[in-house]
Every structure is written in structure tokens, then in C-alpha cells.
Symmetry: C2
Subunit: 724 residues, 2 copies
């Protein structure tokens, strides 16, 4: 193993470039505004260093998160030799992460000439003040050596699809370095500042390049002494309040005044307060304990606590992968943890959907529909970054038409599902008045303009969609979609009724302003006649019209048909298309989202049917399957899914190297708490149905309800719920 995880710490001994690439995710740190990949501050671009800012996107052909200029850049030369991981002179290289407090550390040693040179670094992305990052480096040697240290702001950053930065302007102030630049397409102004304390205090020269500004220190380091440099970085954009460069300078100045120890202490206090409600303690299974905590740590790195209306992208702030897009599975897999522990965070996510409603309405209109059609790959304004050609043919290198963008209509319903869950949990239906009711109305209106009536079957149907299983595009009456849409219709009706009673003026004016009266009338006709896929004689729900007629075969069999390792399994001619092999939980997800609507037999038969047909090419899939496994008592299988999710980012398979997986992180919590502890809220009451895995003796976790925080303890036999 290249890494070990124990208690709150990951120690990583990767040294080859291939292995080091994985530490970017594994040792990731973030505070919800800044995400910084877990590589050394002196990394070459090949290690994909990146500093990503929540909600900051740019790009032309492919819009993606901006990798901002790095204010923690450092470059160390000893006796004319750069301290580099590529060099043969590396003796030791160890990186580690304290994920209780989000502190990244590295310790390296080189043999240079006759001397052993040590470098110790530590770094944190400040949780107390989100615009700040701090790093500290200590260099020592067993011989007298000449060292040159270059520290400052480096704007020549690596991009997946860049460059995104231009018009660099650098300034040396009395105490700081400044860099101002703008993004190429949207001309968003960025202000970066860097402040350095160098001990011992020695003179420096200033080096400026077209894209950066640095201080360069030359020092004759006496044997068995150390030099220490502390770097404070600050990042602002014009999207933040105030002048970016002024604020960046002030942030760094304030850091100088406070000093490292004080800053770190406050930072840790913030983490402690998060863990106070956010932690889960598993007794009897240390590995599960570590990985689950690590998963929750990841979620907190991405969660935009600072913002009123931002969401968590599908890869959080961990890089530029997948265009930094916010995807629907976040609603279903990431939000449950926050809903249970910090429901205010979910309100922010809901407000993100409220804020981006105009883009969703625009998208619906572009496709000729009414209402709102939320994006599959939503960016800062809610525009859909998803292409009509999401896949490239491996043989012809031509783009393949995919229908993810235009036919994946269940996304609206996933959003409504989370809104409903939020209101059920918190009772805070005032979010409806803030715009969530309008979101639900417009989502409903979209569906009403999408459905068709079948004169033959005397029912409404939902045709030509893509369900969660993207290997089968353009299907009719996808069980998941049809059920989710019915859920939306019932929800809007209930809320309309409730608001007419509770907030008659608001209800009346909203419905009138949106001309929704007729739609509400029509809804009453549709609801009893919207086609729902019922379990068949074998208690299995068919995924969509005609699915049972597809070829039944094993995943291995389908895999054996591949003629190229990178062939996509779906779209035009993918191997899975004519078969029953699916990408991820689809019907099983439905069972997991509405566990009370389906019998034990249906859950069991449907799971047993689809599970061997599911490739699980998604983290949603493992979670949904695990929840149903728990429901039907298949705990060993559920535990495998749990471990897979909980370890997904710490393991860091090479193919996922450029982004972490909040859906896996959140899914791990869901399996542990909703699955194994059988936790749910029913009629405003906490319900627990313990079904712990063999090794788990006790699970302790907390939930925050409107009345306060409850500490829950679950063992195999019993449980206690204590108001804090």
C-alpha cells in the first residue's frame, strides 16, 4: 500500500509520478471556498496542482472551474540543485493529511553533494477565514549549504482545458506580493496576495515574470540549523464583496499580525465545532471508522458554508474534472448527511437551485417545453455545461450524440425530492416563500408540457427519456422517472393546498403571477392517471417499456464483447445498449428513495434481478443498492458497498485521479446511518431500526432537528436518542 489510514491521519509514501498523481485527491484540503489539491507547493504541473474557487468558472470551448494563481508557490535550490521529486537524490518523501483538522504535511530529504537536506512543510486552507491559505516550510541540512528559495504568486498554472487567465498585473507592496489578473472569457478580476515571513530575517530580491511575482532569498545555511519560511496566501475575486486586491492584501496583513499559531488554532476550533455534530463514531471497526470520517471530512472541504446559495459540484472543489458541474446525484447522495447534521447547508443548496431557476427555464424553452428543465451539468448560473456529444467514438474519433442533456428529465424531480425532504425534516417551509415553491411549480410545468396521453391505455405516459441508467437512452416510461414525476405532482399539489391555507396572499399571487391555475387544475386530472410501473408476477419492476425484452446476459459477457478498452458501453452502438446490463441503480434507486412504497418482496426480487445486471459505474449506484440490501437484511453485501464508497477517494483509483467523489463520501454516511442504523424521520419522529454489520458494536452520531441536536447511540439490540 502506498498509504496508511489510521485514526485521523493518512500517511502517504507515494514517490513515482503515477502514484503521486493520486495524492492530489487523497490529501485534498478545502474550506468550501478554496479547494487545494494534495500535492507539495513546489509541484510541477505534471502533478496537477490546483487551487479551485467555489463558483468561479471560465472557458470557451469547455467551461470549467478556474485554477487560480498560486500564492503559496515555492521553489528551493540547494547548492545549485532544485529540490525535486523527479531527482535521483530524493532519500525520503512522505506526505500526510490530518483530516480532523485538514492539515496537509510533507517531509522530504535529499542527498545533495555530501549533505543531507531536509524539507518539512505543513499547510492548511483556513476554515476560519475562507480566503486564506497558509503554508510553512522548514529546511535544514547536516552540512553548510547555499540555498536559494523563491516564494510568491505563480500565475502560470496548469488547466485541463485552459488557459483561463490573462492580463496579469503584479505589484510589490511594503509587506506583500500582489497579482491581479482576469479570466479570459468572462473577464472576472482576481486579486491574489502573498505574504512571507522568513526566519532568519534576511534581504531578498524580487523576481517578476509575465505571470508571477516572487521573492528570492539567498542564504548560506549553516550545518544543523534550519531556515523557516511561512507563507500566507489570499484569494479574492470580483464575485466576492469589495475590491479583490485590497481585500487580499488586508487578509495577508491580518495573517501577519495574527501569526501561524493563532491562525491554526482558530482554524482547528472551527473544525472541532463541525465534528461536534458532524462526527460518527463506530466502535468495533476501526477501518470503517477511519474511512467514514475521511468521507465526511471530504464533504466539509467542499461544502460552501460561506455562501448563501452555492452547491457542491460532482467533484467538489477537487479540480477541473467534469467541468466543475453540479449534478443531480448530489441531491440524492450528498445532501442527506448535511440535512441530518447541518440542515442550513441544504437550504444553501436549495437556494442555488432557486437562484439558477432562470437558466432552467431558459433550457426548457430552448427545447420547446414550458417551465424549468434543470441542467445535467449545472455551473454557477445554472447553465448546462453538458454537451449533446458527451462521448467520443474510439474508432472514428467522432463525437457521439448522447441524450444526457435533453432527455434526462428526472433531474427536476431529484431537486424537488430534496426540497421536500428538507421541509419534512426542518419544518422550515418558509423556503417555499423564498422561491422553492416557484422552483417546484416550474419543474411541474415542465413535466406537464412533456407528458403525453395514451388514448389506447387511457393514461398519461412519459416518453423518450434517459433515466439514471445512461446506457439505455430514449426509453419510454422509465419506472424511476415516472414515479419521481408523480412524486413532484403530488408535492406541488400538497404545497399549493398548504400555502393557500398558511399564506393565502403568497399562494394566490404566485399562482396568479405564474399563470399556474390551469396547470393545477390539469394536475388533478393527471395524477390519478400517470402511468406507474408496477411489479410483475415475479415482483420485479421493469426499468422501462421493453426492458425485459432486451438480451439477458452477464456483465462479464458484455465486457467480453468490447473490442477496445475505452469503448463507451452506451450511446449509439455500445455493448450494453441491446442488453439488460445497466450503468447504475435505476429502479433500485426508486426503491431506496421511497422505501415505504414497496413491499419486502418487491425490494428483494427487484434488487436480486438488477444487482447482477448493474455495472455500478457511479457512486449513486452502490449507495442505492446498499440501502435496499439493508432493507432486506443482506448486510454483508451492504457492507461491501459501504467500504467501496467510504474508501473510494482514499484509495483513489487512477482513472479517477483528477477529482474526488462527494457522492461516494455522502453515500458512505447514508449506508452507515440510514442503512445500518436504519435511521429515518417519520412524522417528525426519529426512527431507528438497527441492523449493524457483524463487527460494529456501537454507532454514535448526532442529528440536528429544529428543536435541537440529538445524540443517537445504536447497538445491534437497542438504541438511545438523547437531546443534547
Amino acid at each position: 500500500m502506498l498509504y496508511t489510514i489510521k485514526e485521523w491521519t493518512i500517511v502517504d509514501n507515494s514517490i513515482t509520478t503515477g502514484d503521486l498523481l493520486q495524492t492530489g485527491n487523497r490529501l485534498f484540503t478545502g474550506n468550501g471556498y478554496i479547494g487545494r489539491r494534495g500535492v507539495p507547493d513546489d509541484s510541477e504541473p505534471s502533478l496537477l496542482p490546483a487551487t479551485i474557487i467555489s463558483g468561479l468558472y471560465d472557458g470557451d470551448k469547455i467551461r470549467e472551474p478556474v485554477n487560480v494563481p498560486d500564492p503559496l508557490f515555492i521553489n528551493i535550490v540547494v547548492e545549485g540543485t532544485k529540490l525535486s521529486l523527479d531527482s535521483d537524490s530524493v532519500l525520503i518523501h512522505e506526505q500526510s493529511l490530518d483530516f480532523r483538522y485538514g492539515k496537509y504535511m510533507r517531509s522530504s530529504a535529499w542527498a545533495i553533494n555530501d549533505s543531507i537536506v531536509n524539507l518539512q512543510s505543513e499547510r492548511f486552507v483556513d476554515r476560519d477565514y475562507i480566503h486564506r491559505m497558509c503554508a510553512r516550510h522548514t529546511i535544514s541540512s547536516d552540512q553548510n549549504v547555499h540555498i536559494t528559495i523563491k516564494i510568491g504568486i505563480n500565475g502560470a498554472v496548469h488547466d485541463l482545458n485552459g488557459p483561463h487567465l490573462e492580463t496579469f498585473h503584479t505589484v510589490l507592496t511594503e509587506t506583500t506580493l500582489n497579482l491581479q489578473c482576469v479570466t479570459v472569457e468572462k473577464q472576472i478580476v482576481l486579486g491574489i496576495a502573498c505574504g512571507i515571513t522568513f526566519s532568519p530575517h534576511i534581504p531578498f530580491t524580487v523576481e517578476q515574470s509575465p505571470t508571477g511575482i516572487f521573492k528570492v532569498y539567498h542564504y548560506e545555511l549553516p550545518a544543523h540549523t534550519a531556515v523557516q519560511c511561512t507563507v500566507y496566501g489570499a484569494v479574492f475575486s470580483v464575485l466576492d464583496p469589495g475590491n479583490p486586491i485590497v481585500n487580499a492584501n488586508a487578509t495577508v496583513s491580518q495573517a501577519f499580525n495574527a501569526g501561524w499559531d493563532s491562525l491554526f488554532e482558530t482554524h482547528c476550533e472551527k473544525w472541532d465545532s463541525i465534528w461536534k455534530t458532524g462526527d460518527v463514531i463506530i466502535e468495533g471497526d476501526d477501518e470503517a471508522q477511519c474511512c467514514l470520517r475521511y468521507s465526511m471530512y471530504q464533504l466539509h472541504c467542499h461544502a460552501p458554508r460561506h455562501s448563501g446559495d452555492n452547491a457542491i459540484p460532482v467533484h467538489g472543489l477537487s479540480g477541473q474534472m467534469h467541468k466543475g458541474a453540479v449534478c443531480w446525484d448530489t441531491e440524492l447522495t450528498v445532501f442527506p448527511y448535511f440535512l441530518a447534521t447541518e440542515p442550513d447547508m441544504v437550504a444553501k443548496f436549495i437556494r442555488y437551485r432557486i437562484r439558477t431557476l432562470p437558466s432552467a427555464k431558459q433550457k426548457a424553452s430552448e427545447y420547446g417545453y414550458q417551465g424549468a428543465f434543470y441542467a445535467r451539468e449545472s455551473q454557477e448560473t445554472g447553465i448546462d455545461a453538458c454537451s449533446d456529444f458527451s462521448v467520443v467514438d474510439v474508432w472514428t474519433e467522432r463525437p457521439i450524440r448522447t441524450y444526457f442533456r435533453d432527455k434526462q428529465i428526472h433531474i427536476n424531480a431529484d431537486i424537488v425530492y430534496m426540497i421536500k425532504k428538507y421541509i419534512d425534516w426542518t419544518g422550515e417551509w418558509s423556503i417555499l416563500l423564498e422561491g422553492a415553491f416557484e422552483v417546484i411549480l416550474e419543474c411541474t410545468r415542465f413535466y406537464l408540457s412533456y407528458i403525453y396521453y395514451s388514448p389506447r391505455y387511457k393514461r398519461f405516459e412519459i416518453l423518450d427519456v434517459v433515466g439514471p441508467d445512461e446506457y439505455h437512452e430514449r426509453v419510454h416510461n422509465n419506472a424511476f422517472t415516472n414515479a419521481m414525476v408523480l412524486f413532484v405532482f403530488n408535492t406541488v399539489k400538497d404545497y399549493a393546498d398548504m400555502l393557500r391555507w398558511e399564506e393565502p396572499d403568497f399562494a394566490h399571487s404566485t399562482v396568479e403571477r405564474l399563470h399556474f391555475d390551469e396547470d393545477l387544475m390539469f394536475l388533478k386530472t393527471v395524477i390519478p392517471h400517470l402511468y406507474q410501473k408496477m411489479p410483475n408476477a415475479q415482483n420485479i419492476i421493469e426499468q422501462f417499456d421493453g426492458y425485459f425484452h432486451l438480451e439477458s446476459c452477464s456483465i462479464d459477457n458484455v465486457r467480453s464483447r468490447l473490442k477496445h478498452p475505452q469503448e463507451y458501453w452506451g450511446a449509439g452502438v455500445g455493448v450494453a445498449v441491446p442488453t439488460q446490463i445497466i450503468k447504475q441503480a435505476d429502479t433500485v434507486a426508486l426503491l431506496a428513495l421511497f422505501p415505504h412504497n414497496y413491499s419486502f418482496s418487491t425490494k428483494k426480487a427487484t434488487l436480486e434481478f438488477y444487482e447482477p445486471r448493474t455495472e455500478h459505474n457511479s457512486n449513486l449506484s452502490t449507495t442505492m443498492n446498499a440501502l435496499i440490501c439493508c432493507d432486506i437484511g443482506e448486510l454483508d453485501r451492504a457492507y461491501c458497498y459501504f467500504r467501496e464508497n467510504a474508501e473510494f477517494d482514499v484509495k483513489g483509483e487512477p482513472k479517477h485521479r483528477s477529482g474526488t467523489h462527494p457522492a461516494a463520501n455522502g453515500g458512505a454516511w447514508m449506508i452507515a446511518i440510514q442503512g445500518f442504523c436504519g435511521f429515518s424521520i417519520e412524522h417528525k419522529q426519529i426512527k431507528i431500526t438497527p441492523r449493524l454489520p457483524e463487527a460494529w458494536e456501537k454507532v454514535r452520531f448526532s442529528v440536528r432537528l429544529s428543536e435541537g441536536i440529538y445524540d443517537v447511540t445504536v447497538t445491534k439490540e437497542k438504541y438511545t436518542v438523547v437531546k443534547r
Copy 2:
């Protein structure tokens, strides 16, 4: 040029195997029951010799027409050397076809040792008695030579996907050779007889093989003399009345008695009677004259005059290509010629659809619909030979899912269109009582079970179909399909009303038996609200929902994207799929089928839009485009299409070598008569709108109406219609 066509004769000088392969179509002969490919009787299998029987199919994996044992087999050896076209000793080889009388001829000479050996052959597929074929061979030499001639029945035939024959049983009777065998899958008994007159009369030996029986003649041919052998062949199957082998023998015996000259004379008389009404005379354009006559000749070779209820397959009787399937474009391109000249023939085709209604109902039911869903590739019982995977991926060699079979619902309407045309033309609505009304009702019922109602647009829509343009599958509201379905709905309503008046008992009992009352009521609701694509502001009709949003580019541009010459343009990932490039006329076909429903501006704008976007990978396409070109006065363009159709089979592009193209043949007539002469029937009156091509001085043709035959003469300025 390998061939010349002049007056009624094609002379072909092909000599290489590749060129000779094209003569199979070019010099094809047939009588509607038997089709015989235009290659010498002593051809090797590599030249694809075949004798195809109308309505006779077999096969396992791929059902296809049966290539029956050849009763005209001959093999000549001179001085130990086989007279073969492969040999270097060939001095002359010329084949020709008299397409006035369907006589195939060949003349070859070889240098063998020191002698020049000549072989003259002639052959006809008897139009007077459909089970008979006759061949005559004359061999001469300028030196004394020893010749061995083997003549008889050869059951070791070539198949595209065979073998289809087994259980061979051969008998030598006093005068004939007999072979009986059965088809492999359906065990259809075949009876073949061969009778030979050899002049001079000399003894023979009999040679039997597991699959054949032959007479072998050894003869010392004196210099400057000739030997002549006349071969009479007969083919019957158990699908014909009586005992196949008995009938075959009787047929050959009768031929012996009559003799070659008498048989050929009667044969020619039959052709003369066909041409009496069937000919078209073009003055001023000899090339057009020849090719058009040749096209009509081809149609008569395939037309099942003998049968009460057979149709013409898409490649007629010219081989096993395309599974011998009957396709919908026959209704639109082949039948108009027969409707004008021999409407009884169209009645046979309609009866074929009536007979195969049960298969169409079965197909509808298989797909979960009501009524009848006619086959895309209809075989003898109407079963659909079309596969769900009609294309093989050139890169992976995996079959590609295509939606030709399950989504090409316009086929029903094409059939109803021809029924309506037949009744309009002949007034013979009694065909409705024979079953055509039931066909129309069941086609209607299918559509009623296929359509959906859009609550948003308050209209009925037709979703998820494939129109004539097969490059764009699973489209919504295909203009052609929607209009054709509306036509069907109006037709069924009109006929139901008419029959209630004219044949109240029949009308009542049929509607009652088929439980169609409710459907007829529902029809009245649907008809005014069935969505029809209207011309846009530029007078262009959109081919289907969203077509205008596809990439607009040139055919050459799309072609340049191909990475493999055999790549299919449509289906999963074809180059045309994301573009506006279409396979064949789709919207333009609609304009051509209902020319009175669309304005000049719509025709012009729609043609100009689609024509450069049409690959014309079908013979339907050229015809439909040409008809609209004539309508809008673009005669030069129409003339190019005419020549392309009229010369299609005589030119015989290599890729089409295994089958002729009745749709091109019929289309040539349609362009000449409906297009250039502007011929139509309106309100039982012949209407002529002359718009002849530059070179055409006069066109003379005949049409057969219920009152009799009319001879029509059209010049650029005027026309005359004279009752014969």
C-alpha cells in the same frame, strides 16, 4: 462501355469475371413465375447463376428465395478442354438480350488446339407457360473435333445464404430427366424436369450425382458442321396445383411435341400483347426510348401475372438479394405503371396484402399494438424478414440495433395509399369487400393504438418513428408519416361512409365483427387534431421535430467524415445522424404523393432545401424528386433523375450486382408519364399537363380505364386522348 443498348437490344461484351457479374441483372429474363439471371447456362457459381421462383422462400438464419435446381445446365468439353470463359482460349464472347421478347443470346468462340470452336446459345423463359424455360445451343468447329456435352438438371446451386435444398431424388424417364428435392426448412417439394433434343440424334450415357442427373453426349464433330441441342426445362413446386414432378414431365413432353419454333412464337405473341398497352414511345430521344422500354421490360419479368395474390419483391425475381422481400416502396413506385396499363395486376398486389394481413396483425401484437403493422421486408406469408440488427458495425463487427422493423410505421399507409389509388382509378371498390376494407381498418386501428395526445398542444402526435429517411431513426412527428396517417384516417372514414350506403350489411357486419365502432367514433375526434407539419416562413416543411436544429452541411462534407468506406451513414453513430443529410426523399415524397395539397412555393422551397441534403441512396428518392422538379418546371434536373432511374439496371453498378431494381424501373415510367407528360386522373378524367424535356418531340402511351383503353399522344404544345 461494356454494353450497347439500341432499339430493343442490349449487346454485352463483358468478359472479365467482374464485368460478367453485372450481366446477371442486365440480361435478366423472367415471366413473373420464373426469374433467370442473365448468365450463360454453363456458368460457374462465381457468376451467380440463379433461377428464382415467385413466392418460394426457405432458409434458417436468413429466409430467402430458393434458387431451384437448374434444368438447363450444360457443360461442353472440346478435345478434353472445357469451354470456359475463364480460359485463355476464349476468342469471342458476346451476350445479348432482346428485351422486346425476353430472349437471351450468347455467342462465343474458343481456340482449341488448332481449331476454332463456336458456341451459339439462345434462351427464353416462356411467357406462354410460366413453368417452362427453353434453351438452344449450336456448336461448330473449323476442324474435326471430339466434343462431350453434358446436359441436365443441376441441384448443386449457389446460394447467398444456403444451402436450401436436400433429399434429392433423380429419375431417367423415357424422354426426360427428373429431379425431385425438398427445401431444407419448410420441406417444400420441388419437381424439375429436363428434356433434350440432340441433333444429330446420337446415343448418350446418363450421369447421376447426389444432386443432379445429366445426359452425356460424345460426338466427333466434323469440320464446318454443327451440332445442336435444344433443352426444355420445367419447374414446379408443391405450392403449385398438382404433383410437381408429374406436371414438370408433362410440361417438357408438351414442349417436345410443340418444338422450339412454335413455343417461341407463342411466347412472342404474349409479349406483343403486353406491349400493345404497355409500351411507351418517345420520339426525339432514342436513348430515353430504349432505357424506358428496358425498364418496363424488367417490370414485366417480375410481375406475377399467373398469381391471384402475389407481389413484386424489392429486387423482383432477379436473385436472393434482400431476402426476396416485398417492400413498401413497391406500392409507391412500381404499381403506378401497372395501375395505368394493367390495373388487374395491382389488384393482385392488393390481394397479397389482404392475404398477409394475419402476419401484419401478429406483428402489431408482438410490439404491443392493436390492428395490423405491415412488414418492412415482407415474405410470402407477410412475415417480416427484417432484423432488429440490420447493419454490422465495420469496426467491431457487432450488429447495430436499427429501428427499421419496429418504427417504420408509414408502411401501412403506403399500402392504403395504393388501395385508394386503385379504387380511384378503376372504380372497383369491390376489392374492399374482398378484404381491402379490413386491411384499411386494421391499419387504422394500429395507428390509433400508436398515437398520443399532447395535452400541451392539444393535438394528437405520432412519436418515435422512422420515416422514409432511415438515417434518422426514432424521430417525432415525421411530416411524411403524420400526413400519410391522416390520409389513412380520412380514407377509412370515407370508405366506411360509402360502404354503409352501398353495402350496408357488409359494412355493418365488418365493423361489428372487428369491434371497430368505437374506433370509428374516436377517429372523428382524432382527424381534426392530428398534428400536421406545415410549411414554415420560408415555405419549407420540416422533416420531423427538431430536424432544422441538426447540423446543416453538404453531403461531401459528411462523406469526408467517413473513416471506413463501408461505414453505414445512419443508425447508432453514422455520419449523417447528427446532420440534415438524409438517405432519400422523405418530405419531398409527401409532396409528390399529394401534389394538390401543396402550393408551388412550398414545393419549390421544400425541394430546393432537401435536394442538396439528399444522398438518394434509394430509387424512390430520384423518382419523388423528379416528380416535384416537373411540378415546378425544373425539367433538366428531372431529366437527369429520369435517366438515372431508366438506366439504373442496364448500367448495373457493381454494388447492386445481385439484384435488379423494380423501383427504378417503375420510377422511370412515373417520371416520363406522370412527370413529363403531366398525366393524372382527376374526377375520373384523364388530365395531361405536357412539360416534355427539350429533346422529346412526342410521347405516345396507353392507359386502361374501366371503360377501355385510351391511347394518349403528348407533344410539347398539345395532347390527344383517343379511345382505342
